[in-house]
């Protein structure tokens, strides 16, 4: 009984941090409809800034003053990010915002590294609260009790702010009815900035307040990201009480999980989420959401055409050059291009889903990693020959996609995106924690291709044929009746349904196909490296895919492939420098703000301007449903 209470208290104490960070995210989403992926970065900044302040300010007063100051400073950093990066993309589809905030993550990571160095720091204990209280003979840190006592005040302060002040009225109005804010005559931009200040500040507070229980390191940003998304999604996007309930639920579950099911704490969190969302798709206290457009902004996509003779010629020449590559004798180049082809296939499969289907999946790496692990596990545990494992990998990934697709396609827009992300994390945590079977953190090693492919050159040819073949197959399908039905379901679901198209089924099949193709890429990957680690299915990998599709251009058929090739080359070059994340992050932000049509789209616009100086375009009729 004593142990039970002690654990419950630990859970409640942990919930304080989680709630602070998650409610900031929820608040920002509620008002601005931006899913701030950089929220974990604000949390990390909070920890580092708080740590530095606590070094300077002495005593209990200094400690708490540091915490508050940290909230203020991180809030101001949030304001800078909002004004420079997010203002230009408020009206844009969620993919834009994701990519922009991902750029911010990279920039903050490197800036933190520059200022505080690569060493983890241990948080100082809170002066005056260093002791332990015995509750029914079990030791409970005094600081935990302080946190538990503090949380209701935070909740109350937020509640007061939201329900009793003018700012609160505006926040609620904006959360519930976008049009109304404009009607109230408020300067919407400043409302958004204010909310961003508040949200980022709360993440900063969360980072500072957890210092005595933990510390600060450079992985904190991604580590907390999944947890706060789970909290916000379970609680219901935009709902503060929901976030609190979910934070408590997850934290308490976590503590009990550690003692009773130590191997599955992470999995448990996502299982709870999957269950909640199956019963209540919009979270415990969330409201149904009508969602808008996906894909890229600006003018609508152009009709696609079969490739012209000249385009086919050019691709043909490129392929011949590709096949001649091993003759250069450069081992480095062969390996690099093998990597690029694999990544291109992964990106092409995501582009199929996102560009043609309008389905913005934030968890596509699940299928890449899924394919890689299916192949790897078959080789390691069943001693399957490489050829068989290679054939079964896409089937395994496809099967995963059937299940995950069925669950996720019940939702749309941001909710769909969040759920795909969470499912991918579920899979990741399964692989990460199931040591005996998957090797956990140590991954699967010694997964080599069959003898006839053991040479780097022959594996390169194999990759080129399978990879390019897969990309061409996807392109063919884009031009097939199925591909058209997929675009029809995206363009106007109502019209499609009213002309006999089962849009959900089409989307489900597309999701499965994209998953299977990502699985092929994953299988190519595992045999080329001889190993696979859990990070091949983590959030960052899914984001890589999204960024590449975005960079290439969502509204162009070749966007995925061009973006993937470009990013891999740029990365190969940039990673030679110490602060390459900073450079890449700034580059990404610049593309979002300056060239929102992507590489292919921007080139096409340039080309058009050059060819036909001024084609007067009739104003498109208002025809959204």
């Amino acid at each position: 009984m004593g142990l039970f209470i002690a654990q419950l208290l630990t859970g409640l104490a942990n919930a304080a941090t989680l709630f602070l960070v998650a409610s900031g995210l929820s608040l920002i989403f509620g008002v601005t409809r931006i899913v701030n992926f950089a929220h974990g970065s604000f949390y990390m900044l909070g920890a580092f800034v708080g740590y530095s302040l606590m070094q300077v300010l002495p005593g209990a007063v200094g400690f708490w003053a540091s915490v508050l100051l940290t909230g203020l400073i991180v809030g101001l950093i949030g304001v800078i990010v909002e004004m420079l990066v997010l203002r230009p993309v408020y009206r844009a589809p969620e993919l834009f915002q994701l990519v922009a905030t991902f750029g911010v993550i990279l920039v903050i990571q490197d800036l933190t590294l520059m200022i505080w160095g690569a060493e983890d720091v241990l948080g100082p204990r809170a002066p005056g609260l260093k002791g332990i209280v015995r509750i029914m003979d079990e030791p409970v840190p005094t600081y935990d009790l302080a946190l538990i006592a503090l949380t209701p005040f935070v909740l109350f302060a937020l509640w007061y702010l939201i329900s009793r002040t003018r700012l609160g009225v505006l926040v609620r109005a904006a959360t519930q009815d976008r049009e109304m804010v404009a009607a109230l005559g408020v300067n919407q931009a400043w409302l958004f900035t204010g909310v961003f200040f508040l949200g980022a500040g709360m993440a900063g507070l969360g980072g500072a307040i957890q210092l005595p229980k933990g510390g600060a390191d450079l992985l904190m940003d991604f580590n907390i990201l999944a947890a706060i998304f789970v909290v916000v999604v379970i609680g219901g996007m935009g709902s503060l009480p929901g976030a609190y309930i979910a934070a408590v639920l997850i934290s308490v579950l976590n503590v009990f999980g550690v003692s009773y099911l130590p191997q599955s704490t992470l999995v448990l969190m996502f299982v709870v989420m999957a269950v909640v969302l199956t019963i209540r798709p919009y979270g415990l206290l969330g409201r149904e959401e009508v969602v808008g457009e996906h894909g890229q902004v600006g003018e609508p996509e152009r009709p696609i055409k079969p490739a012209s003779g000249r385009a086919r010629m050019m691709v043909g020449v490129l392929l011949v050059l590709l096949l001649a590559l091993p003759m250069t004798g450069s081992h480095f180049l062969v390996i690099l291009i093998t990597d690029i082809i694999i990544f291109c296939l992964f990106a092409a499969s995501l582009h199929f889903l996102l560009g043609l289907g309008g389905l913005v999946s934030f968890g596509h790496a699940a299928f890449f990693g899924g394919g890689a692990y299916v192949a790897g596990l078959l080789v390691i545990h069943a001693e399957a020959p490489m050829e068989l494992a290679f054939l079964l990998a896409p089937l395994g990934a496809g099967l995963l996609a059937v299940i995950i697709g069925w669950l996720c396609l019940r939702l749309t827009g941001v909710y769909f995106a969040m759920l795909t992300l969470a499912m991918a994390q579920l899979l990741w945590s399964l692989v990460f924690q199931w040591d005996e079977f998957t090797g956990g953190d140590d991954g699967l090693v010694d997964v080599w291709p069959a003898g006839w492919l053991s040479e780097a050159n022959s594996y390169f040819y194999f990759t080129a044929i399978v990879g390019v073949g897969g990309i061409i197959l996807l392109r063919h399908i884009a031009h097939s009746p199925f591909g058209y039905a997929l675009r029809a379901s995206r363009d106007s679901q109502r019209q499609a349904e009213a002309t006999g198209i089962n849009t959900k089924r089409i989307q489900w099949m597309a999701f499965t196909l994209a998953g299977a193709m990502a699985g092929v890429a994953g299988a190519l990957f595992v045999f080329s490296k001889g190993s696979v680690f859990p990070n091949e299915m983590e959030i960052a990998k899914s984001f890589d895919g999204l960024i590449v599709v975005f960079l290439g251009g969502v509204k162009t058929l070749s966007g995925g492939v061009v973006g993937a090739a470009t990013l891999e080359l740029v990365k190969d070059y940039l990673t030679r420098f110490e602060y390459w994340r900073l450079a890449l992050g700034l580059l990404i932000i610049a593309v979002v703000v300056l060239a929102p049509y992507g590489i292919v789209g921007s080139f096409r616009k340039l080309f058009d301007r050059y060819r036909q100086p001024s084609e007067p375009e009739t104003v498109a009729a208002e025809s959204r449903q």
Partner: protein, 262 residues
Amino acid sequence: MTGNEDTAVLSVIDLSKSFGGIHALNDVSFEVARGELLALIGPNGAGKTTCFNMLMGQLKPTRGNVYLHGEKITGRQPRRIWRKGVGRTFQITGTYQSMTVIENIQMALISHHRRLYSLRPYATHLYRDQAMRLLELVGMPEQAERACAILAYGDLKRLELAIALCHEPTLLLMDEPTAGMAPRERIGLMQLTADIVSERNVSVLFTEHDMDVVFTHAHRIMVLNRGELIANGSVEEIRNDPLVQEVYLGGGSVFAASDGHA
């Protein structure tokens, strides 16, 4: 019209819909006979679109039933109702922006021929001739290769009509088909609709704001006001119905046609 022959194409019985406390449609009953061109008129917010949405399955009724050729279709999915021979155009058009005009029609034809799950390219070569004939029918063959996103509003309406005809429907529901068109274009479109009715053995139920159009072409008229069907009769009867005149322009003349804005 053909009243005594077998069953009606469409029978609607006590159809009702409320959104929360708002009764958008209240116990509406009517029939559409074979080969009939039936107008449903009424002021904005009367419940016309809501009624169409329930006939085609986009909305589930709170109460009441819909029968197509005697078969109950209440609450079925739109795509199933479409397969049974109902075509629809929308008040606010919903075409496929990323396709050309002719591809929009080809898409519906692909669905009609049940080729949706084929993975063989190129969809853009499938059923082109058939699509072209439909485009000629609605009078826009020279627009075939244009991107749908840059069409004028009136053309979008005509395109939707062509799409709705792809499955050779026996019943066509047209929600404000002439909204946003110039007067001459309106008459042309309604003449075309009347031709379709007589040549293809299709029944049409349509809503319309332009009384000239309604009185010239409709075989019969129903008047909806605040969710209630307040009149149902021939053109002559409706013209002289005092209640209808009351609803339109507060006792003014029905003949002073209002402009057909949405």
